[in-house]
Structures are given as structure tokens and as C-alpha cells.
Amino acid sequence: MRSAVIVFPGSNCDRDLAVALEQVTGRKPAMVWHRETDLPEGVDFIGVPGGFSYGDYLRSGAMAARSPIMRAVTDAAGSGVPVIGICNGFQVLTEAGLLPGALMRNAALKFVCREVPLRVENSQSLFTANYDAGEEIVFPVAHHDGNYQADETTLDRLEGEGRVAFRYLDEVNGSARRIAGILNESGNVLGLMPHPERVVEPAHGRTDGRRLFEGLLETVNA
């Protein structure tokens, strides 16, 4: 799997994601600066990492979503390349229109930084094939703007089409229907606030996130 990690000014989980991808795929991902206009040839997976791109100016992810590389990411997503947006990456993907809804300030106004239990709601996606439906896993979260909101019609549609990939078991940030991660219509774009890349090796204390990348690798290589 030839993966690329997009790097914006203010990204801070780009290296964590790169290490996780290298461990799972055996190949170093290309680190692609936001001002590039093209992705490296033959990229078959794109990661949009967490962090505070552009210092969260205007709205979290708003400036990053309009940076030159995002046109190439949008084109690649349109042609079926799997794209994952984690934390700030999820905010970037909603701002770029690749995923519906918006991520607002946490309802309790506090920055939430802890491990949270999640339920895998859809185990049939590119990203979740290595989990069981309804399985409970634990990923860490670290965000201030993780409160997922969309209109009722959109929420009903996401639920009806099996596009809620992960759901918080407890109240975390005020997200509508406790949504933690969603898929796009074609199922090749996943955005989630929790950090799978921070739980991939025993030294992390947990390895629940590893299966996400392993499942993806198996699908991409299949």
C-alpha cells in the first residue's frame, strides 16, 4: 500500500500516523506538504492527520480545507482512493465537503483528552472490516471541537445507509446521536474524532487501532 499523509502548518499527529502506517504496511508513507498540487504517483491511501492546522483560525479545518493539495485529495477520493481524516483531519474533510455535517465546539466547552469506549456500528466498510459489528473498542480522543452536528435529514440518512462507522458509548462532546465517525456515500472516506493511530502497538497500552489499518491494507492489497 502506497500511502500519503497530508501535512498542514499546525498538524501534530502527522508523524504518529506515519509511524502507524509504516508499522502496519511496512512502507514509509509520503509526507505531502499542503502547498503541493499533486499527490505522488500511485498513492492508494491518503491520511489527513490531527492537529491544529492554521491554529484553528476562522473554524477548525477551514483554512486547511482550501489549501492547494485538497483539490488533489478531493479528486483522488472521487476516484475511489480511501481517505481517512482523524480529529483535525475529520474537521478538514467536513470543511472540504467530502463528508457531511460540521464539528463544533464541545458542548461542555472543555478540551476532552482521554480514552473513550466506542462501538463499531458498521463492520463492512473498507476501514472497519477487521472489527465485528457492535464490537466495543477504546480509542483516545483529544479535541476541543468534536461536537458532530448535521441536520436531522442528514443524520437519518447517515444512520439509514450504515454510514455511522463509530459511536461513543458515553457522552463525550455533545455530538448528535453520539456519532464519533462517519463514512461518505461511497464508503471510501472515513472521518473520526478518536485517534486509532495512537493505539497500534503494545507500548501504547492498547492496540485497538491497529486493526483499522490492517483491515485497510488487506482491502487495498486484495
Binding site: 476562522l58 473554524r59 482550501r66 463544533m104 465546539r105 458542548a107 461542555a108 466547552l109 452536528q149 455533545g174
Partner: protein, 79 residues
Amino acid sequence: MKAHVFITLKNGVLDPQGKAIHHALEGLGFSGVNDVRAGKLIELDLADGTADAEIEDMCRKLLANTVIENFRIERLENA
């Protein structure tokens, strides 16, 4: 020519910041506040003759996230 763009949360969208401001006002003894909604004001210094449609385009493409926000443009005469 200057223009002000007011960005506000749509009705029904929860505004935790507005709520916190409301509580703080109550804490200071201001008891007559029914509700607080927080928004943004962006001041644009524009080339003369910039069309309304172009400012609206700026709002839709970047300044506001129309999933959750409304915008209102106010041109400032003689500014």
C-alpha cells in the same frame, strides 16, 4: 470600500460559547439576559466596485460554513 460580514449560528444550532457568556453575565449580577448567541464580525477592505455577488461568494466558499452558520453582508458607505 469596506464591508462587514456578520456570521451567526443558525437558529437551533447549540451555541455553547453563547451559553457560557450568558452564565458569566448572570454571575456578574446581570439578571435580565434572556439568551446570548455569539458570532463573528469580519471586516473586508475591498476594491471599489466589488459586486455583492462576489462578497456572497466569499462567504459561501470560506467565511461562513453554511451547514451551521448564516451570514449577512453590510456595506459601509464612505469607509
